[in-house]
Symmetry: C2
Subunit: 364 residues, 2 copies
């Protein structure tokens, strides 16, 4: 039994690297994050996995090691340099200050701090300089819908000067967490192969069973709602796209109209974006800008029927861009279609990249 047998332990551990805590390690995004931590260049010393008490002691694999889950408690943050939170906003709100009080810098993926003026909202490809000021010791990561477009739109903004966005989303079920994934699978099982369905009003509604976190059937349907109701009939998700885009781009007066729609896709959000700029745009140049932007892959060859779709981009790191067209009636506007894995590109990857930048700053 040579040295290659058995689990490889600590093979990637960076000597003297900062200690990382992953809070919410057992969730849908947590699982993707552990995969990223195991495959990206390792910059951490110890990694602690933290979750709710019901998962305590359960071993999870990270960097080739089995690491038992620890319970969320103040002591778990002792000696932690960076704490990544992938938990609901209420949990972040309560526990992020506990982590910072014990000296950790928090990278939070919930909505709890994204609009707080004293918390930077950071996308490393767009505004890494905002990481320098973190008066509360907290850095927020945007939501998955914003992240599906912000890297591509940020690159175009640098060249053309963004004035307005009109966004329609095609959001995957996993944006509503594990419950969303399970609900869609269960509904798909009920409707799959039933060739009588979808031709009469209400028959899908009568068959799909539990609606789970969605306000209408999702299988064989699209649902123009996600989030909670805000003033003027807007959903919280729609306002979030507006608020987050303005904050990340540093454009507090940017005009944004978003309509958020859930589609029967398990993973990967898509966005149809109409972007109006201050200058005339050129289709080929815009395509070249996107193709040359770190974190973006241009997939735009309709002649060969090449464009991004959720089924093709799920499980991948980049933000995918395609269908780049100059508006026929406005030489300063571009229409494009963007896709990103909402658990990975739209969540785990951004927090991982933010944490790596922080780690680089903490490492002597």
């Amino acid at each position: 039994m040579g040295s290659t047998a058995g689990p490889v332990t600590g093979r990637n551990r960076a000597a003297g690297g900062p200690t990382l805590a992953v809070v919410g390690a057992t969730g849908a995004v947590g699982a993707v994050l552990l995969d990223l931590l195991s495959t990206r260049r390792d910059v951490y010393g110890e990694i602690r996995l933290v979750a709710s008490p019901r998962s305590v002691g359960r071993p999870l694999s990270v960097r080739g090691e089995q690491v038992p889950v620890a319970a969320l408690a103040p002591e778990v943050f002792d000696g932690v340099d960076i704490a990544m939170f992938h938990v609901p906003g209420a949990v972040s709100k309560e526990w992020a200050p506990v982590a910072t009080a014990r000296g950790a810098v928090v990278v939070d993926n919930s909505g709890a701090f994204r609009t707080a003026p004293d918390v930077p909202l950071v996308v490393p490809e767009v505004n890494p300089e905002r990481l320098r000021e973190r008066p509360r010791g907290i850095v927020a990561s945007p939501g998955c819908t914003t992240l599906a477009m912000i890297v591509a739109i940020g690159a175009l903004h640098r060249r053309y000067g963004l004035r307005e966005l009109v966004v329609s989303s095609y959001q995957a079920a996993s944006g509503a967490g594990q419950d969303g994934i399970e609900t869609l699978y269960a509904q798909m099982e009920k409707v799959g192969g039933d060739r009588a369905l979808g031709l009469r009003a209400g028959d899908v509604r009568g068959v799909v069973g539990e609606l789970g976190p969605f306000p209408a059937p999702l299988a064989m349907n699209v649902v123009p709602w996600s989030g909670s109701l805000e003033d003027g009939g807007w959903s919280s998700d729609e306002l979030q796209v507006r608020d987050e885009t303005r904050k990340v781009l540093g454009l507090p007066g940017l005009r944004v109209s978003a309509t958020c729609v859930r589609v029967p896709v398990v993973t990967a959000h898509s966005l149809s974006v109409h972007a109006v700029f201050g200058e005339r745009v050129d289709q080929r140049e815009a395509q070249a800008i996107l193709a040359g932007s770190p974190g973006v892959v241009l997939c735009d060859n309709p002649e060969l029927l090449e464009f991004p779709t959720p089924a093709d981009v799920v499980g991948t790191d980049p933000a995918w861009a395609g269908r780049v067209r100059r508006s026929l009636d406005d030489p300063k506007a571009l229409d494009l279609f963007l896709c990103g894995d909402n658990l990975r590109q739209g969540a785990a990857l951004n927090t991982a990249q933010v944490a790596e930048l922080l780690a680089a700053g903490l490492t002597p």
Copy 2:
């Protein structure tokens, strides 16, 4: 064995009404049209059902009668007053002139004549006056994507003066005909209930089998493409929305950007629309305008999670409107979500209504 037993024959037939030919009676839209002809107020004398030779003699039910299908041939139009065509564009192009040469007025649902300057493009709720001039004896009906929005947008235009539309579609598989429906059902059968799918790149593509008329898997996916490739990377469906909307509204300079996306829904197209007007808009007034417009149903109460979805509107006649919001950054812009059964509201119903207006003009 009273008089109610047995098939009811000719119960609705209008004495002295015009003779109608339905060309393409066996297709997906044809089936819906026969249902409409059987349930709406009957204004016709004879109704002839016409299809390709392979369906000849097959009896179809219309107005409670079994009517055998006749083959598409010049003679079938002898004595016909109104001929409705629900066939591919190439068939319309060849056969509509044959029908008009024999004296019929043609109502065509294909793309063959929609942009022809000497063919009116008519939506009875919006521009019925255009029916008066028909120099070629042909009246065209818009495509299903345009029809999903044009009645609602037309009503708002009359009040506020439309300047610009940004449209993203969520188009059902049946927009690609019977082949589209069959392909989606077959793919759904293969993916239904498989809880390993949709979490890794390419795994849906490996399982769904035949792509049918779609350029990528449609089950558990969305596909940002429909139609053929046109200049500038636009799809023919996207340009069609622009051309048809301009023509029906009589606004040749209207700014329109459309992105057409196919979703895994069997029937009913949805549209997310950002509409910019010449005047300031008011959310409550816009909702009242839509609620009071013939052919439109307002379903807009997000507090009760009420908004239109394909599963709820399929099989119904009206265009459904919901999620009406005034843009936060532009007091002259509205964002809304529209749904319509693409086979019924978006095809058969409009041609039926056009034909009824023509019949009223032909009836002494």
